[in-house]
Amino acid sequence: MNRREFIKRVGIGGLAAIALGAVNLPPIFRRTEALAADVALNLEVVEALQETVDANLVYSWAFAVNGQPSIPGPVIYVSQGDNLTITVTNTLDEPHGFAIPGLLPGTFLANTGPISSGGSATVSFLAPNPGTYIYLDPENDPVNRVLGLHGVLVVKPTAGNNPYGAFATPNVASLFNDLGNSSHFPGVPWAPNGPNNRERIWVFSEIDPEFNLQAQVAGPGEIIDRNIFQQAFLPTYFTINGQSGYFAANNPDIALIGLAGEPILIRNVHVGLDTHSPHIHANHGYIVSVDNVIGKGDEHSGADNIWWMDTWTMLPLNRKDVLYPMMRPPDIPPQTWAKQIAGTSDEGFVDNLMHGPNGGFPIAYPMHSHQEISQSANGGNYPKGLITHIEFHGALPGV
């Protein structure tokens, strides 16, 4: 039997999420959550079809839960210190695995090791310090990861007014405490699990369909050469959470949507092979954590030095948490902003998607990788690549 006749299509509606243990799931995921009864999770490595922005179906590999594949895999939400048990079953021909890269290159917080075709393996580990982690298939690195076997593990603190709890550095703690509690950040205080949608996860990746095809036609025992893969990989589709262009820009799980005065934490991870340079319009973003080092700028800047940037670098396997303050865009003249708030603005385009004839909000901006090759799809079709929207739907009083 040709099992490929039964390949499922990947749900492309955005990130699915799983909360293990007692952690509260951010509200954006509550429509898709699958609350587990305990801290155990079963993942399957399966094949799947991923749909591109120009409606091509691309053979991929994916992690699946309860028979449902997704690319990226489901976001795993846990609390710091939870004892996690993850069982991974390999339904494919070649060896696969499950691992969480550690703080140093080549180290792992957890790793099943290779799982042969049809086999299963289980890892148990304590949830690490609060932050954003990548899980991936480390076998035949980076082939299996880039072909779809990747996802995000978010570890929430057990207490505290920031994403890192007691592990926050003084400047990171101060920044989050200042939100809504200082003259320069009017608006609402940070609320780790508050009523508004205050967190996003952006998983950056790319697809080279030639290699997906190679994986599809490979017989048992045939493995894609990892060195050729790295040297010949031609990024053809550029994705955020598996989506591109229009679909990423208008996905409420990806786009930053809110009121001025409602800060949003963006958990950036990069699982592809390209060099990205995400540029965010309308506000600069604070880089509050780099590769799970809280308060790190870079190797030159010393500890607890939080950069405020409009463009940041994402290399393969980078994790960067960026606080987007969602403040009044500072270069809008005050009288123009006053008209915006009063609903009497002359700006806007009724025949454009993002502007209503309401004399005010919403106003919309893009976030895109400024490594502009990433704005293409299948060699052109600008702007159908790594892009999403920032939408101000109004402003809180005093902002």
Binding site: R9, Q68, H300, M309, D331, E347, G348, D351, L353, G380
Partner: protein
């Protein structure tokens, strides 16, 4: 049994032409013809400082007010070191007598607190926009075509220059191609001088090349020399392409009698994901001419000369699609700002502080990032110090070329 697919699935949408039109509209914004009015127009008030901006006003300016600063579209062919001609596109100000377009586009210099008026016009075909990178205005003045409008006629962009620093401006239509064509220029916002200004330094905007004042943490400090270095990689094959190359046919949407789009197709094989740069430039000068001083009579370069004991400000912008690994040899460089934001300036950047990159230690920049570097060479450092940039392929990280120039420290 296929998995459930939500309503935004493109395959589902393909059966609904009106929705595909919606997707197309997303990348086919309205284009202006003639002069579009600027909403909420704030007339220049002579002082050029916005009354709402919380800083002291002063009325003496070194340069006449040219509001609005004007940018027209132009192209130029530039001969590269190997003798090949490469076409560049960009903006220039036709109101300056004798001015012509040079790659990169003319530098714009403003004063912190100023209301900026920038007229884009002179579009020869189709449309362009100007995005003022790092400036955060209303969406209509942000210059992102698909989220407001593209400019086929004329439009005067308006915004408040709220924060001193290093910015740039560029076209944001078919951006991957138009930015590669060189459609960018520097946009610098100068702070007011301190109360006891050095009389040898004019009021801002300060002269290109220095001297002037720059914000450092919560103070304003003097610099004697200024270098503005934009790193860029050039793939000459891209420079043979047309304005709308590889855009989907959505961009030239045809409507049927009922207003529904017809002929909606995606481009395939456009090749704009294949980037093989052959020239490596600093501020429009290809390596190795970058090594020369700007005064070189044959091939002016970008090397900078500074006296020992004086202060050099380098404004560094990565305009490349490659990863740029940079090394300043022999001189420590203090990073005082990045992306137009001063490190350690309360209240917004009190969570950071300036830091030093030691001589010879590499640092990376990627597209659109900016570092402002202060260098204060001593008498012991008199001599020639190399600044070298490796252009690493954006996927393989192989070094495709370098660009180097020098800081000459003289007695």
């Amino acid at each position: 049994m296929p998995s459930p697919i939500i309503s935004r699935d493109p395959k589902t949408l393909a059966a609904d032409p009106s929705f595909l039109g919606y997707v197309c509209q997303f990348i086919d914004p309205p284009k202006s013809s003639g002069l579009l009015p600027t909403p909420d127009w704030i007339p220049p008030d002579g002082s050029r400082l916005h009354p709402a901006f919380p800083t002291r006003k002063f009325t003496t300016f070194a340069q006449p007010d040219r509001t609005p600063i004007t940018r027209h579209f132009e192209t130029v062919k530039k001969t590269m070191p190997d003798g090949q001609d490469v076409e560049f596109w960009g903006f220039f100000d036709p109101k300056i007598p004798g001015n012509s377009y040079k790659f990169p586009s003319d530098e714009i210099r403003l004063v912190e607190g100023q209301i900026f008026h920038g007229l884009l016009g002179g579009i020869k075909k189709k449309a362009h926009t100007i995005h003022w990178h790092g400036i955060e205005p209303t969406s209509q003045n942000d210059g992102v075509g698909k989220l407001s409008m593209e400019v086929g006629g004329e439009y005067i962009y308006q915004w408040l220059a709220s924060a001193a620093g290093t910015y740039f401006y560029h076209c944001h239509r078919n951006t991957l191609l138009h930015f590669e064509f060189g459609m960018y220029g520097m946009l610098l916002i100068d702070p007011l001088p301190p109360p006891r200004k050095d009389p040898a330094i004019p009021f801002p905007p300060y002269p290109a090349g220095g001297p002037g004042y720059v914000r450092r943490a919560n103070t304003v400090v003097k610099y004697d020399k200024e270098a503005v270095w934009v790193l860029d990689d050039v793939d000459p094959l891209w420079h043979l392409l047309d304005h709308d190359a590889a855009m989907s046919s959505c961009d030239n949407l045809n409507l049927d009698a009922n207003g529904n789009p017809v002929g909606v197709n995606f481009t395939s094989g456009g090749g704009l994901n294949v980037f093989n740069p052959a020239y490596f430039c600093i501020s429009g000068v290809p390596h190795p001419w970058t090594r020369n001083l700007p005064t070189d009579p044959v091939n002016p370069g970008v090397a900078v000369q500074v006296k020992a004991g004086k202060t050099l400000l380098i404004r560094l912008l990565c305009g490349a699609y490659s990863l740029n690994k940079c090394v300043m040899e022999g001189l420590n460089a203090e990073v005082i700002a990045m992306d137009g934001r001063v490190l350690g300036q309360p209240p917004f950047t009190k969570y950071s502080r300036p830091f030093t990159i030691s001589a010879g230690v590499p640092f990376n920049l990627t597209a659109a990032r900016r570092f402002d570097l202060l260098i204060s060479p001593t008498a012991a450092q008199i001599g020639t110090h190399r600044f070298v940039v490796e252009f690493q392929h954006h996927v393989t990280r192989q070094v495709m070329g370098i660009a180097e120039t020098f800081v000459n420290v003289v007695p």
